[in-house]
Symmetry: D2
Subunit: 287 residues, 4 copies
């Protein structure tokens, strides 16, 4: 997945028709682009066409920031939604966190090793518990406490800060607040959440307790895009781990932390590499 060359990703979503691949690859070829990776999927039930093409920046006879405009006529012909994204362009990402720090710490370490190819202009929390991590990695940390009563105002504070930092992606790294529909409708960028169960099993609060009580032999974690319907957003990634009768609820919580970190990090990475396309309640993940 790690291309050694600078590249540009083109993501496309439209109704399936004959000739899309030929037309799009022809477009790239006309500007001197060498396709490094291409993958597409046609949903035969809904006739939707979803494609990801990645081509080398080297040799391109057009500046990367003019590609989107140049592509507009093609997109119009096929009524496409599309995104053009140079790999040189890091995704401006805000992390939301509450008291539990493991997902935050994990993302920051990956960020430092440059696994994720993001910028993190700000970390926002409703508690000051995780301030030391922000300090260690030299990232601004803002605390907006929240109560049931102040939630609307607090969400507006968060929104303002996201706007101010021109955030393109919000990652809820175990942020234990439910985002309101108002918030999500105003945010203007995707939000990735990690739920600590194998969705759709154990929706809602205390999924590890629920899993323990049901006596499952495997637990899971699910990264998904946040939507107004809690835990119902399109799933990006899931993974699981065996548990047994000797595991207490506390053991499930402990084991689950490893899952949560890994699943969330994979989802962020895939999103940032523009490998994920949402359609309906589902995602296509090109990897």
């Amino acid at each position: 997945m790690a291309h050694r060359k600078e590249s540009v990703v083109l993501l496309i979503h439209c109704k399936d028709r004959r000739g899309i691949v030929a037309r799009v690859s022809g477009f790239i070829h006309d500007f001197g682009g060498n396709i490094l990776d291409s993958d597409h999927h046609t949903d035969e039930e809904t006739n939707e066409f979803l494609m990801r093409m990645e081509f080398a920046s080297e040799g391109l006879q057009i500046p990367p920031d003019e590609i989107a405009a140049a592509f507009a006529p093609v997109a119009k012909t096929f009524e496409m939604r599309y995104e053009v994204r140079p790999s040189s362009c890091r995704t401006r990402t805000a992390l939301l966190v509450s008291k539990q720090d493991h997902c935050l710490a994990d993302l920051l370490q990956r960020h430092k090793r440059d696994e994720l190819h993001i910028d993190i202009p700000v970390i926002i929390s409703n508690h000051d518990t995780c301030a030391a991590w922000a300090e260690l990695f030299k990232i601004p940390f803002t605390v907006y406490p929240v109560t049931k009563e102040t939630k609307p105002q607090q969400e507006q504070q968060v929104l303002s800060l996201l706007k101010e930092h021109r955030i393109e992606l919000v990652v809820m790294a175990r942020y234990m607040q439910i985002l309101s529909g108002t918030f999500l409708s105003q945010i203007g960028c995707p939000v990735i959440n990690i739920h600590h169960s194998f969705l759709p099993a154990f929706i809602g609060a205390n999924p590890y307790r629920q899993a323990y009580d049901r006596g499952v032999k495997i637990i899971g974690a699910t990264a998904h895009y946040a939507t107004e319907d809690l835990d119902e957003g399109p799933i990006i990634e899931q993974d699981v781990m065996r548990v047994g009768h000797r595991d207490t609820v506390e053991d499930l919580v402990r084991k689950g932390r490893d899952l949560e970190e890994i699943v969330l990090a994979r989802a962020v990475r895939r999103h940032v590499e523009r490998r994920v396309l949402v359609y309906g309640r589902k995602t296509v993940v090109f990897d």
Copy 2:
């Protein structure tokens, strides 16, 4: 798990108290038994004690079929439920099947290789589709067709046949009928079912279709003891498999078959080896 020696398994369930292990292992030692394997679990929430001890038959100064009676005073002291089971004693198992043959065929092949240590006196179906498998493995095959109207009578036919064959375990190898509460209350032996999802996700009909529509990245299968509450019985074993956006519902069904076979076979094997103890809605699996 495969002991080379003839052995006896002792399964125990009671409230936890001091001295159970010492008392039980002392009992076995007094009769010249050499313990091959012992495992126990105390549920600290409910204070329940569950134990499995397996000891060599060789050198025992008591016939295996007299151990249960000899153990009765110990059991009484600790108010135990218990079972004594010599490994030489195969579990008389009936298979229930409908039209889909993969789990049936899988169990029959494992039976022939003697992986399962069972006798199969009879296969019962509501269709004649799987008759050739029964014939190939030379096992009596009885068809009791069923409709909504005839269900009570058909269940009585099945019950009679199970009694006649002194069945100790019923395995639903994709038997697509819901067993009534009446049937389950009269059957007098455990029933193992395979559900084609990662329970408690996707309870009920068409779980692969549900999984497809929800866009999960992993599918599963669950073997559990059948209870009156559909898909709510104590879970014995689960396993999972990755799927992707390219997989259609038909692909999930195909991939799921492998899971169903393996998960069901593991559950049957563990039950037959007396490795499973039910308590509340859950199981302890000693393996």
Copy 3:
């Protein structure tokens, strides 16, 4: 993976150059083809380009059996090796087996459910042990016994029979003979083998014994193309399973059977769907 429409697969292998995707998708579009699936990979170390395109047969303005010839000029331009394969065309597959029947039985059951999209004109064995399976599935079964002395002659018998049946793929379903270099150089079609370990660990004889003695916590199985260097051929698929200290060698053998069946079946399916391309000692698997 299961397309509902008749389709044609085009597999391509060449040195990477600008414009391949555009040229090939243009070719398909020119003949009225609608691309259902396309995937390609460029190995940046070796500059090799490997591609799979699948397009609908419906609407094609050229008979499928003329596509290869029509494509020749494109292939020449880019010095491509390529294959054109209509999905309507089943791969003529011979199964080789010795005494252990589990992989054979598994493949035959999948074949009957039409999971594999192959024809099986013949099963060849050095023993008559598996004859009943061939009979059950009504497939000709030929026994060519082999000893150290008669091996060259026996291999010639096998080769003749493969030629006679115009075999396109040979699957060693636990065929416990090493194929000679002479045999492999004359066979003229790929051979898929299943090795009962996680290669390159435990090459050679008795891998389960080796795994037991080393005390590994996980066992595996590996499907690969057979080459003259035993167990060194390009790997198509691998999978693994946990084992523990309670598992004897016999338990590893038993657990391994499930792995062997599943891994071999996946490899055959992927090969038959033309999802596998070999380059160097490695494979690209488009799935």
Copy 4:
């Protein structure tokens, strides 16, 4: 696995004989101990008996530090090697690290959440790269640089420091030096190492490169006790992850880090909880 009560673990290794379980559980019962967990394994090939018993401290009529002496006569009768370990007693653990910090950082975070139940009196490195982590977690950090020429002296420095801190366990958290036989013979405590492959595949240097070149479809990591024979020590834990043709060597390294962290942490935890017994080249892991 997380017992809520203070407890004592008794680990036993001897030749199998009749009556061991009865004698040991009787011993515990005589002193008022309530057994929380017991597990044992008899290797039927070598006739070795390995057992772990964990009993509640509450109600014990003997101080924990006198149990070992009280048990000596029993141990003598059966010629046992044994260890008595109260859960209140944290294992004094030294971490060895080089430049790569991910395993170190992971262990420190688990330590802070008290997942591991260890004390870390010192971190030792041949580089100062990881000093910031030690500082963040307020743990003394000692750098002993090493060259080919100074290796014997450096190892003596390390040994002295370990002795000074009465270290009971050394964890090589990606310490990129091979420990000499001299060092290992003098250290007087177990050393756990993490090897970044699925042993015994890819022994030695650059296992991810080796895995890439061989084209495996799954990579792994192995935690084992260090012995003089590099990568040949008894395996404590292994885990694996899928990879594909799109993954470069750098991707394998990145994905492997997650495996390394998790596998090493599991091994440390199991060792510290006295769940691991070595016999021959193998381990028994009671979990």
